[in-house]
């Protein structure tokens, strides 16, 4: 079974990626699993300055899902480039760096610093719901998306993946804006803005009050959005949101994704990420496919 997929000019050995923020920098699991089963590594969001993120608690459990309000904790771009990147590079996998900023110009500055040839794409995080500026406040506005993406487009030759938020009325508007501005792919979805209440203390459970909902609970929403975008844009889609099984991953491909990312469920069952490629091959074969790439967009709609 041919497992290679192309995301624009980027060739991945298989369509299985970890989701940003749910895989650290690949270092933790490398001692337990063979990372070469992955199509690449997606970093936790990198920002210009070091960030401590939000106060604790910043994780809550929900029915078939979880809330997080990490708030982009990361050591900053300098430490990332000086220390972490060398460690990640050792895995010999394509690296996708997730970039987040307060200001539109932050994204440009960050993108300019991402020169390493092993970095195959920049995933612009226009969708994190847990920070006060940047990210989701950009990703809910097509004009802002266009502004940021075109600015980054001018600043780098690297492929740009624009990661969109589901917290919008019409996801296709956002996807079209990203495409028009020169994005090479879109990643969807980031988390849904949500809240959990502790009735005993009469308080939101998370110190940030709200957090982002992810996990199987959100998959039907994510799948619908991938399917909507696939029908209007020409650039590839990296699908994610709730994937917990090989069927789930194939459903995303059928709905139009060229590759998938797995986050919350892989944190619970890390083995999932590493067996996924083989399981996809087996199931794709049983379903009559001869390559994983041909699954993309094969879904037949009822009229």
């Amino acid at each position: 079974m041919e497992t290679k997929v192309k995301i624009g000019d980027v060739v991945l050995s298989c369509p299985v990626l970890p989701a940003s923020g749910c895989f650290g920098y690949g270092i933790e699991l490398a001692q337990h699993y063979d990372l070469s089963a992955l199509g690449g590594i997606v970093s936790k969001a990198v920002t210009l300055e070091e960030r401590l993120g939000n106060d604790m608690p910043r994780i809550a459990e929900t029915p078939s899902g979880m809330l997080n309000a990490i708030g982009l904790e990361n050591p900053g771009v300098e430490f990332f480039l000086d220390v972490l990147l060398a460690q990640i590079k050792r895995f010999n996998l394509p690296i996708i760096v997730n970039l987040a900023g307060n200001e539109p110009t932050d994204y440009v500055e960050l993108a300019e610093k991402m020169q390493d040839p092993q970095i195959v794409a920049l995933e612009l995080n226009l969708s994190c719901p847990n920070v006060k500026s940047g990210c989701m406040s950009i990703g809910t506005n097509p004009q802002e998306i266009e502004r940021v993406v075109s600015a980054v487009r001018r600043a780098t030759e690297k492929p740009i993946w624009v990661k969109l938020t589901p917290n919008v009325t019409d996801i296709t508007e956002m996807a079209l804006a990203a495409e028009a501005a020169g994005a090479d792919a879109i990643s969807l979805i980031n988390t849904l803005l949500a809240m959990v209440v502790d009735v005993k203390t009469r308080r939101p459970l998370l110190k940030n009050n709200t957090g982002g909902l992810s996990g199987p609970a959100v998959m039907p929403v994510a799948l619908r959005m991938v399917s909507e975008c696939y029908r209007v844009i020409d650039i590839p889609i990296i699908g994610m949101g709730g994937i917990a099984s090989v069927e789930d991953a194939l459903a995303f491909l059928m709905a139009g994704a060229s590759a998938v990312q797995i986050g919350s469920s892989a944190m619970q069952n890390p083995g999932l990420l590493f067996s996924m490629k083989d399981e996809m091959c087996t199931m794709a074969h049983d379903l009559g496919f001869s390559s994983l790439s041909e699954i993309t967009g094969c879904l037949e709609y009822w009229n």
Partner: protein, 265 residues
């Protein structure tokens, strides 16, 4: 590569008090864990549940589980023969490198914090530190004390405290610690503590006052338990940093930390 996920088979589920069960599993292929390390146990709910090791030897591993909510209820409802996925051993355990002399250790625990300390005590004993090992465990009431049953082979130098009386010491575990220190002939070289945050905080203060290093094992809400998500962070004093502290993962750099470094929430 070291296996991270293990399928444990339940051998025994003992209810040792109204709120506490001890689950014992067969552990073929599970690496030996250090006291203070924990496992992420699968539950029927979305997130796994972090549970410290209470005992591990001879291809068996035991966890003491306090009924808190739905996840722990599900775990305590398992039957012999049931299979359970566990990730681990996780985190860094207690640091025993500087604990060298016999006769000078105090362990102070409360609530579900007692379980990992029983393992610590057991390991210290087998490594020759038994003589001077003092354990102080606190309960709200005598009825809640689950140590009456034969969970620990060696009860010598173990003080059971109850806020409402009826056990060895009438009062809080921290009061028992102070009483112990007041009477001790020599200053202990280390205190190890695990339990409610307020208790550990007080133990750290006592340690500071008496100039005894304290190690505490913390509990935070975890998204993964394996270092991936940074959901579980703890702030540690760090003068080398501009902010005066650094933020570390409880699941990876912890859950055991030097007490005097912890910035309590």
């Amino acid at each position: 590569m070291v296996n991270l996920e293990h399928i444990l088979v339940l051998e025994k589920n003992e209810q040792v008090s109204s709120k506490v069960h001890v689950l014992t599993f067969a552990t073929e292929g599970v690496p030996q864990s250090k006291p203070g390390q924990f496992f992420e146990l699968k539950s029927p709910y979305f997130l796994r549940r972090p549970i410290g090791v209470m005992q591990q030897s001879n291809n068996k591993i035991s966890f003491g589980i306090r009924l808190v909510g739905k996840g722990t209820s599900a775990l305590c409802g398992l039957s012999p023969g049931d299979r359970l996925s566990a990730l681990g051993p996780l985190g860094r355990g207690f640091d025993l490198r500087h604990v060298s002399q016999p006769g000078d250790i105090v362990i102070v625990g409360g609530g579900s914090g007692i379980f990992p300390l029983l393992y610590l005590a057991d390991q210290m004993r087998t490594s020759g530190l038994i003589q001077g090992l003092n354990q102080i465990y606190g309960f709200r009431s005598a009825e809640e004390c689950f140590l009456e049953v034969e969970m620990c082979q060696h009860k010598n130098n173990m003080t059971l405290c109850s806020d409402s009386g009826g056990l060895d010491f009438h009062g809080h575990a921290v009061a028992a610690l102070e009483a112990f220190l007041a009477e001790a002939s020599a200053k202990p070289s280390a205190i190890f503590s695990c339990g409610p945050e307020a208790m550990m905080k007080s133990v750290v203060e006592v340690g500071k006052r008496e100039n005894i290093p304290v190690q505490v094992s913390l509990e935070t809400r975890m998204g993964c338990g394996i270092g991936l998500c940074r959901g579980c962070v703890v702030d540690l004093k760090d003068d080398s940093r501009e902010a005066g502290f650094r933020r570390v993962r409880c699941c990876k750099e912890g859950p055991v930390f030097p007490g005097d470094k912890v910035i309590w929430s």
